[in-house]
Every structure is written in structure tokens, then in C-alpha cells.
Amino acid sequence: MTSPLEQKKIRISGPSVVTANRTWDGTVIYRTARQDWSEKLSDAAIVRTSDEARALLAESAADDVGAVGAYIAPVEIKESGKVKPGNLREHIRLQGVTIDLPVPA
């Protein structure tokens, strides 16, 4: 899970999404196909080529007020069509920490 903050060349190796954090509260968000953000991964626009990824990222990054730190993240698409996080880091961002919090939610 080498930090994608170190991404320089944009080259995707499978279906991907653009994700970021919401500026005012830090919540994890995903770029939709409707030029906005959603907290639900199922709402995320899927890109499948590096060009598409680059374009979506550029479009997302233009929303500097609403979102912070946008980058391209891999996803896994199940046979059912359900979209899941594509690596452990994205899984943790979506689901939360893998440990019990000291204070139960």
C-alpha cells in the first residue's frame, strides 16, 4: 500500500475510481459521474483506461473547495457487479480501522 500520494505517472492496471476526503470534515468521498462526490463507493464513476483516469482526476481536482487530496484508487468489480475496494488501504478507508476502537462507537 505504497502511498498513492507518491503517484506521479497516472497509469491504471484495472478498474479504478477517484477518491478524496471532504474538506470540512475529512470524510472519505468518491467522485461520481455527475461532477459531484458521494460517500458511497457504489456511486463512484469507474474508469478503465489511463486517459479516463487522468480526465476524471483533473475534473475532480478542480473542486478544491469541496475535496482534499484526490487520487486514483483501484477497485475490484465482483461478478454481481458490486464494486469493492481494490486493496487493503482502500478497504480501510471505506470500512474503517481493522481494530476495535478503544471506545465502542
Partner: protein, 553 residues
């Protein structure tokens, strides 16, 4: 405890108001993230995986009970009910909202707590010995000098945009509990032959991608010259530190590339010119005395070393086990320094809940003159406990889970937050720590093993200080899987040394097994029961451990 006066409080409040304005301008779009990021970092606000993280300063690891209660309040009101104590004596909150931060800061400012320069390319918390002021044999309280440096470096107009972060640590004891040798500037307070107070100044220590042990740049700087000398070092660094590559921007790289002799000459040259033209930074006795006078010390009673309460309680084996593990000698007879382990078996290391903090604040009022300390090993301490109160204190601590008798033992693990929280991480560290505490949950076994520091970092930035762990564990990534490199033989104290890699990285599921193998090897190889793990490694080298671990892997 240092008492903030009107001037200190005014500065903190002015900083809060400035940040409130900066947040407002960020949320309105007047400031871009590129312009805002460094400003929020200067106030300790990071972006992590799920949320912002807020790092609050605990200068030289000293807190009043009032302040601790306010930290608990922030955890409850603005976060998820807990905080994490760090390897630099600070506290972190993991779920803070940017929009609410100015209010959180205002709440903290009311009790003299701030988050100034806990991140960013500036001078950070001046850390010190968590036993400062109460350790036997201490030359004098290093926190007075920490406070002088803190004030000098806070919002310094010349040094707020350094090439990279800059960390100070200061010790005044023969045994270095502040890890000064792995800091950008390390200061060892001592007295010269004339009995004057001064500092051995070390420079260029640090961990991370290119770890270095600090080198002595000047064996004795008189106390009155401390700030001007530091200014000379910072000015040389500000001008010549690399700005083209963030991995080569720390002062340790500059010292390494110039060599310590050339670097020393540059600093000396700058310092002499400074002193010739201007004496504004020279500290006179009155100024030092002013800061010293605002540190208050308890009115200790005259107490016996072995009070009745303690004699009676020694019949309880559980109390005795805790006392032998967590209670340390105080410079005043009849008193003790009590370390509170924040490393419960199966729990994440270094966390405390708001409830624990509140109860601890009450206990500090009752048993420690209202004072708490934070150590870089991510444990807390009560620095002024009367020995007659130890049994009652223990019972109360045990009730809230702060009496695990594993201080300095194998399950007293130092770990960074890792991939569960941090956007820089390659791998998780907390679950590794948790599993290790479970493997070594038996206190008899842990006692048998003796003093053993395990440090875990989730990435090469080394916030878990793995390079100087007796056993160091570094998370790396291989083909999307979590792997871990293991080093042994590191030390953070006055004999600071970097650990040595024992072999290829091992997968997540095997780390605990590997550590068990290493410990087994140690138990089989040690010359005597009281030969520490780290000394066995020194004596025998890495090979016997490597053999044991990799024989079947």
C-alpha cells in the same frame, strides 16, 4: 509545572484566532489547499486515511490534571472518545473535523494547551525526560531549558519555513530517557569543571529513510549562549539545507554531506558574527531565573521510605508484581515515580479513553500534586506519588486498566498508528502489536525475558522509532501484501545504536512467530538471566538469531 502567564496565554489565543480565520478562508475557497496545507500543518492538522488527525502539543510531556481533563473533553466533544499518545510526548486525535478545529483549539487554549508547530517544516515539540524534575541524580530540571527553547522557537519569523521538520530533545540525567542522539538537535545538560551549567550539543541525529546517530558539534555551550547557538545552527540549516528533495532535506543530510567538521565551522562562524553584532539572544541570570521561578514544585512532606501501608500491601502478590514493575525511585525519600502502562494486553498501544483520562486526572489530584507526565514510549507517569499511597493508587489504576505490569517489558510495545490510520503507511502496525501482547501476555514469562523494547513502524518514516528498538519491526509492501522487516540490537539511550536487519521481510501472519523465535533464541543464548536481550545481541551478533528465525522459513 510551568505556569503560563498573561503573555503566554495571549499568544495562544492570538494563534487560535488566526487559525480560525485561516480555516474560514479555506472553507470559502479564498485559500487553496496548496496554500492552506502548510498553515494547517503549522497547527498540527494532518489528513489521514479516514479523516483529519489533530496533534496537540504537550510541551516536554508535562500536564496538569486540569489540562488532562480538557484533553478528555476534546476527545468526547470533537472526536471519538479517545486520544493517542505519541513518541514525541504529544497527543493525537484521529477523527477531528476541520470546521470544528478552531473551537477545539479555543477550548484547549483556555487551559494553556495549543497545537503550534506540532507539524510542518518548523521546530517541533521540545521533548525531554518524562522524569524531569524528579529523577534521582538529575543535574537540574531540563524542562526549564525546554521551555526557554519552546518560547524562542514558537512562531519564529526566520525559521517557520525550514527545508524540513526540526526536532529537539534534552536530557539532564546520565541515563538518557529522551533519545537525544536521534534528534536534529540533542542537548545534554551538564556542569563543566567550573561548575557552570551548559550543554553538550549534538546535531544531525534522526531516523526515517536515512537514520543517523547525532554527532557532537560542541561539547559545552554555556546556558546563557544556548539560544544564540541554536539560532546559528538553524540559520545555517535554513540557508543550506536541501530543498530539492524532501527525502534529503533534514539537517542530518546536510551534516552528512558537509561533514561534521565543516558544518561545525559554518555554525561557529555564524555564531561568532552574531555575537559580535548583537547580544539580544544572550540569556542573563535574571531571565533564566524568571522561567525557573514559574516552574512550581510540590511541597513534599517528610515521609518514611517504608510506610505501614506499603508493608501491609506487600503481602498481595498482584500489588507486588505491579510495584516491582511500574514504580521507580524518586529523588525525594518517601516518594515514587509511577509509570502507567498504556499497553493493555490485546489493546492498541498508547491510547487512552476520555473516561480514563478524567479518572486519571482525579487520581493525579489525589496522589500526584495534580501532575501527569507523558513519555516517548507512549506511557504516562505520575511523578510525585507518596509511597504510602501506592496500594490505594494501584487499586484505582487497576480498575481503569492503567496498571498492566509490563513497563519496559516485551509487551510494552511502541508503535506508530500504521495503515489503520495513516496515509503514509505501507502496512498495519497496531494489530501486530496487539498479537504480540497476546503471545507474551503471561507476566511471569515477560519478567523472565526482562527488559525488551519492541518498536513497530508502518513505513520508513519511522514514527515508531523501529531503528532504535531492541527488536525493530518495519512494515513494507510486497505485491499488495503486508510484509515486515525485522531488525535487532537497536538502542535509543546514551548508547544509541541502529538495529541490524536479520533477514528477508516476513509476511503479516508470521511476524509474531518470528518475534517468539527471536525471544526463544535469546533465552537459550543469554549468558545470565540478567543479561539484557540487547546486550546478548551485542555480544553474539545477529547470526545466531538469523539462524533460528530462518531455519524453517
Amino acid at each position: 509545572m510551568y505556569a503560563y502567564d498573561e503573555l503566554d496565554r495571549t499568544l495562544i489565543n492570538e494563534r487560535v484566532e488566526e487559525f480560525r480565520d485561516q480555516v474560514k478562508r479555506r472553507l470559502s475557497g479564498e485559500l487553496t489547499e496548496d496554500e492552506f496545507k502548510m498553515l494547517r500543518l503549522q497547527n498540527g492538522v494532518y489528513l489521514q486515511l479516514h479523516a483529519y488527525m489533530f496533534r496537540v502539543a504537550i510541551p516536554y510531556g508535562t500536564l496538569s490534571s486540569k489540562q488532562l481533563r480538557r484533553l478528555a473533553h476534546v476527545a468526547r466533544r470533537y472526536d471519538r472518545g479517545y486520544g493517542h499518545f505519541t513518541t514525541r510526548q504529544n497527543i493525537q486525535y484521529n477523527w477531528i473535523k476541520l470546521a470544528e478545529l478552531p473551537d477545539a483549539l479555543a477550548d484547549l487554549a483556555e487551559v494553556g494547551i495549543h497545537a503550534m508547530q506540532t507539524s510542518g517544516n518548523n521546530t517541533r515539540n521540545v521533548t525531554s525526560d518524562q522524569w524531569a524534575g524528579v529523577a534521582p541524580g538529575e543535574i537540574e530540571d531540563p524542562r526549564i531549558w525546554s521551555e526557554l527553547i519552546r518560547q524562542y522557537t514558537t512562531l519564529h519569523p526566520e525559521f517557520s519555513f525550514l527545508p524540513r521538520k526540526f526536532k529537539f530533545a534534552i536530557t539532564a540525567s546520565a541515563h538518557d530517557r529522551a533519545a537525544i542522539k536521534v534528534h536534529d538537535i540533542g542537548l545534554r545538560l551538564h556542569r563543566n569543571a567550573e561548575g557552570e551549567t551548559g550543554f553538550e550539543v549534538l546535531v544531525g541525529g534522526g531516523l526515517g529513510r536515512t537514520p543517523f546517530i547525532g554527532k557532537t558539534i560542541k561539547p559545552f555551550v554555556h546556558g546563557r549562549d544556548l539560544l544564540s547557538y541554536i539560532e546559528a545552527i538553524l540559520r545555517v540549516y535554513n540557508q543550506y539545507g536541501r530543498r530539492d528533495n524532501i527525502y534529503k532535506a533534514r539537517i542530518k543530510i546536510l551534516v552528512h554531506e558537509l561533514g561534521i567538521e565543516k558544518f561545525s565551522r559554518e555554525v561557529e562562524d555564524e555564531w561568532q558574527q552574531m555575537r559580535d553584532s548583537d547580544t539580544a539572544l544572550t540569556l542573563d541570570d535574571a531571565m533564566i531565573e524568571d522561567i525557573r521561578s514559574r516552574f512550581s514544585y510540590p511541597a513534599y512532606e517528610k515521609l518514611p521510605h517504608m510506610p505501614e501501608e506499603l508493608k501491609k500491601a506487600s503481602a498481595d502478590p498482584l500489588f507486588e508484581r505491579w510495584r516491582k514493575n511500574s514504580v521507580f525511585t524518586h529523588k525525594v525519600q518517601g516518594y515514587a515515580i509511577v509509570t502507567l502502562s498504556l499497553k493493555p494486553i490485546g489493546g492498541p498501544p498508547g491510547d487512552a479513553t476520555a473516561d480514563q483520562m478524567d479518572t486519571l486526572a482525579d487520581l493525579a489530584d489525589k496522589y500526584s500534586f495534580g501532575e501527569i507526565r507523558v513519555g516517548h514510549e507512549q506511557n504516562l507517569a505520575l511523578p510525585h506519588v507518596a509511597r504510602r499511597d501506592l496500594p490505594a493508587l494501584w487499586a484505582a489504576l487497576d480498575k481503569i486498566g492503567l496498571a498492566t505490569p509490563n513497563v519496559n517489558l516485551v509487551s510494552d510495545i511502541i508503535a506508530c498508528p500504521g495503515l489503520d490510520y495513516c496515509s503514509l503507511a505501507n502496512a498495519r502496525s497496531i494489530p501486530i502489536a496487539q498479537e504480540l501482547t497476546r503471545r507474551f501476555a503471561n507476566h511471569d514469562t515477560a519478567d523472565l525475558i526482562g527488559r525488551l523494547h519492541i518498536n513497530i513502524s508502518g513505513c520508513i518514516n519511522a514514527c515508531g522509532h523501529h531503528h532504535v528498538g531492541h527488536i525493530g519491526i518495519l512494515g513494507v509492501e510486497k505485491n499488495g501484501e503486508e510484509f515486515y522487516q525485522i531488525t535487532i540490537g537497536g538502542r535509543a539511550d546514551e548508547n544509541a545504536e541502529l538495529g541490524v536487519l536479520i533477514g528477508p521481510a516476513v509476511p503479516y501472519g508470521e511476524v509474531a512467530d518470528v518475534v517468539e523465535d527471536i525471544v526463544e533464541a535469546y533465552l537459550a543464548l543469554r549468558a545470565r538471566p540478567d543479561e539484557l536481550f540487547v546486550d546478548t545481541v551485542k555480544r553474539l551478533g545477529v547470526e545466531p538469531f538469523r539462524e533460528r528465525v530462518y531455519a524453517t522459513r
